[in-house]
Symmetry: C2
Subunit: 181 residues, 2 copies
């Protein structure tokens, strides 16, 4: 793993724990075993780092998912697969979704980071819209509404589970939903 990628991994954890402003180039550099000036070589400004974090998170998220069609072809429910990625954020990482955190802090973020954060949500709503259409043949508008609702529910379930340090809350919040298919 390149040093740049190491920095992204560490910084992601920091943002997901305490938010964008909880990351400093110095503490990030220390955790990576280099000096803060070297971090600036990889990411000229903090906004560049923030945007790179959101972009990398989005790429990783979408590539973990695959396509709704491929999932369905292999006998899996794409909606369940999507939910399980959020469950992973909680049960393994014990942290917020990176873009959920950035979304909450949206108004206080540099433009560059805001844009990259929004891409995460737009692309995932797009993915889920396709998924809802393919599992239940509803029209595009209804599928998009279900997609947006589900993402909101998942981000909220993560947030409350993190704040109350209770993973069971996530399951409760997901079971009680109206859009299983």
């Amino acid at each position: 793993m390149s040093k740049k990628e190491q920095l992204l991994v560490i910084a992601e954890d920091m943002v997901r724990s305490g938010g964008y402003n909880s990351v400093s180039f110095r503490t990030l550099a220390e955790s990576a075993g280099i000096k803060s000036a070297s971090v600036h070589y990889h990411f000229p400004t903090k906004a560049d780092l923030g945007a790179a974090l959101a972009e990398r998170y989005t790429e990783n998220f979408l590539s973990s998912l695959g396509t709704p069609k491929a999932l369905q072809a292999s006998g899996k429910n794409p909606i369940d697969v999507f939910i399980s990625l959020f469950r992973h954020a909680l049960s393994v990482d014990k942290k917020m979704c990176l873009c959920g955190m950035l979304g909450a802090e949206f108004d206080g973020l540099p433009e560059k980071v805001r844009i990259a954060t929004r891409v995460f949500f737009n692309k995932n709503i797009e993915w889920l819209t396709l998924a809802f259409q393919s599992v239940s043949r509803r029209d595009e508008l209804e599928a998009r509404k279900a997609a947006t609702s589900l993402i909101a529910q998942l981000e909220g379930a993560l947030l409350i589970s993190v704040a109350l340090e209770d993973e069971a809350i996530f399951e409760t919040a997901i079971k009680n939903r109206s859009n299983t298919q």
Copy 2:
């Protein structure tokens, strides 16, 4: 309004926009027309300020609600009243719920602020549990699950609406829910 309360009002807005770490005693003091040293008179440390913010927010929230029984007695659905308070945060303030923001940043907060944040959620879950019991006579455990689910859904709906700057998303996310009563 006392200066201390002024500070709380301004700081609340700041946290709700950019998170706990986006508030500095200097910018807060400037907005209130005093010096940062004077802010320390009212709130010795930043953790004291953060805890006071969460406590005040919780008190205001609960007193705006009244009791589920009183609401029902006056012909209102307490669940709808609860939802409308979250709607207000979005449509009027155009901001996250204060404790939703603090909940997301939970791991990065001072102990004092964490505790006060949790009180918000616990008290509101308590309130909603009573509300669900009184409108639909379900048993306490099921009512509590519905309560937790609803809060998660509302925080998530706020988060996504803020991030995508689209108030309609909040309504979509709330309409598609399974726990209307």
